[in-house]
Amino acid sequence: MSAWPAPLRALRWPVGGIAGAWLIVIVAAALFAPLISPYAYDAQALKEAYGSASAAHWLGTDEFGRDLLTRLMYGARTSLSVSAIAISLSVACGMVLGAAAAWFGGPFDRTVMVVVDLTWSFPEILIALILVAIIGPGTTGTMIAIAVAYLAQFTRLTRAQIMTLKGETFIEAARSLGAGNTHILLRHLLPNAFAPVLVAAMLATGDAIILEATLGFFGLGAQPPVPSWGGMMSAGSALVFKAPWIIVFPGLAVAATVLAINLYGDALIAELDIRSKLRGAG
């Protein structure tokens, strides 16, 4: 028993600590990019184009002479906010759908699960491409696409949780003391279902960053000149031999961030002791 809450305990050295430290750095960079970035993200300096790392540009410059470090920080802003908002949206909708399915059961449950399973049977990238094609490229489209792509996971997980919890003694106890449906659902079932969903959301955010970068790479995410990691890699892909740093650094940023999220997520699972519950997602 520890006085610290699980999310803090998960920061245990070395793995959780290093992962957590990287996440703090990257989130801080994203939040404070306008304050701490050395240049403006769209400040061109054509004379300095294709510059490698130097004192003036720590990570070098791109084909328009824009500072890569600056663009990487702004890219973090795009990638992280799009992924986080998309996953939050997905979690919110998934919990409502999953809880309703488990609660009402019967035909409603079956309908929801069929629809949700249907979205799950397509590759995420395909769903995302179709949705972006409908909504149009840009951050809004990307967010909705990512949210829909992960909806099935959260719906199933919440449903499985609620189904199990419904039979618990404390639910029977609450009912025998006069608690109504709304009270039981909001005060007992959803809060108890939340921990595994939180961890699943954490891990899905890592996947969402990759999906966001992929859509950005295809030119379907944030539109230029707003930087995104995927967009930067796309631009750098033509220049792999001439100026490899243009693609390498955003690539490393994606890899390190996703790895950190997964490692931290694993540490959190261990702390919350919910590995077995996550299997309920099927």
Partner: protein, 318 residues
């Protein structure tokens, strides 16, 4: 005195399976009725019936009446029945280990009952909770309200569950095996607490258990269930002195006694029959030493005997 809770000829079925067969019970204010029987005898179902909670597990009352404070519960609306639960009938669940919500603090879980039923403000409910916990002899109640269930011991959790049952200021407490999951020393404390509540507050208590020892400690009357039927009912003293039904006698023999170390405890041979295949006649006859031809064919009716009643063709001392 009129009974607070009265079951008359209540039968309960789940689906097509009849599990409880025409049971009649009375629980009066200031009294403790013990309902005893082996697992599967229908004890918990009887409790669910008394609270109007059978539909939750797919069961229903097929016959007879459950009356609370003179009103037939079948004639109440769902909302009326819900308003009784927690407010006038408090329930203490079987297993305190899982009876509390693991993600809510103790205080919040107890507060909500009086906030819901007595319409108390947050502060008033908390004051009431602290008061209740102190009355239940919980040390350092002010710290306990901020704890989570996993930080408390089993006995402590059971007191919290009792506090929740009391928070709505009920007249009747139904306790379903309140001590089964606890170790022996803690069991005795919980039994004392329940007994004191009935004495001090004039509560009625329906105590469900499979432990005759618990019955002997605090109950006024005892009702013995076997396979969904009442086999014997009456005041505790006479029944323990002279059990008329062989099953009651066998249950009393299962209580460990002082000086018994030399000879082993006696069990009851055989097993409780399945509800899908109750034996004909007296349901206890396959395990009964007094069983005769009559017992195999005729179910004995429940007939008055002394201050209680018994259902046996060969009732009397062994």
């Amino acid at each position: 005195m009129s009974a607070l809770l009265e079951l008359s000829g209540v039968s309960v079925a789940i689906g097509n399976v009849a599990l409880v067969d025409r049971i009649s019970l009375r629980v009066e204010a200031g009294r403790i009725l013990g309902l005893v029987g082996e697992s599967g005898s229908g004890k918990s179902l009887t409790a669910m019936a008394a609270m109007g909670l059978l539909p939750l597990i797919g069961g229903r009352v097929t016959e007879g009446e459950v009356r609370f404070a003179g009103r037939d519960m079948a004639g109440m609306s769902d909302a009326e029945r819900r308003a009784l639960r927690g407010r006038r009938i408090g329930f203490v669940t079987q297993n305190p280990m899982t009876a509390l919500d693991p993600v809510q603090r103790i205080g919040a879980q107890v507060d909500i009952v009086s906030r819901l039923h007595l319409r108390l403000t947050k502060a008033a409910a908390r004051a009431r909770t602290l008061d209740l916990l102190t009355q239940l002899r919980i040390p350092d109640a002010a710290a306990v309200v901020d704890a989570y269930p996993h930080q408390l011991s089993g006995g402590m959790k059971q007191r919290i569950v009792i506090a929740m049952a009391l928070a709505g200021d009920p007249e009747l407490i139904i306790a379903d095996e309140p001590t089964t999951a606890l170790d022996v020393t803690v069991q005795a404390q919980i039994i004392q607490i329940l007994g004191a509540l009935v004495r001090d507050r004039g509560l009625a208590l329906l105590l469900i258990t499979h432990d005759m020892g618990v019955i002997a400690q605090i109950c006024d009357r005892v009702a013995v269930l076997y396979s969904g039927r009442l086999v014997e009912e009456g005041p505790v003293g006479p029944i323990f002195a002279n059990p008329a039904h062989p099953y009651t006698a066998a249950l009393i023999d299962c209580i460990p006694q002082e000086g018994m170390a030399k000879r082993s405890l006696r069990g009851i041979p055989g097993a409780v029959p399945s509800a899908l295949a109750f034996p004909p006649g007296c349901r206890f006859h396959p395990r009964c030493r007094r069983a005769t031809e009559t017992c195999r064919d005729d179910a004995p009716p429940l007939l008055p005997l002394g201050a209680g009643s018994v259902a046996c063709h060969h009732a009397g001392p062994p």
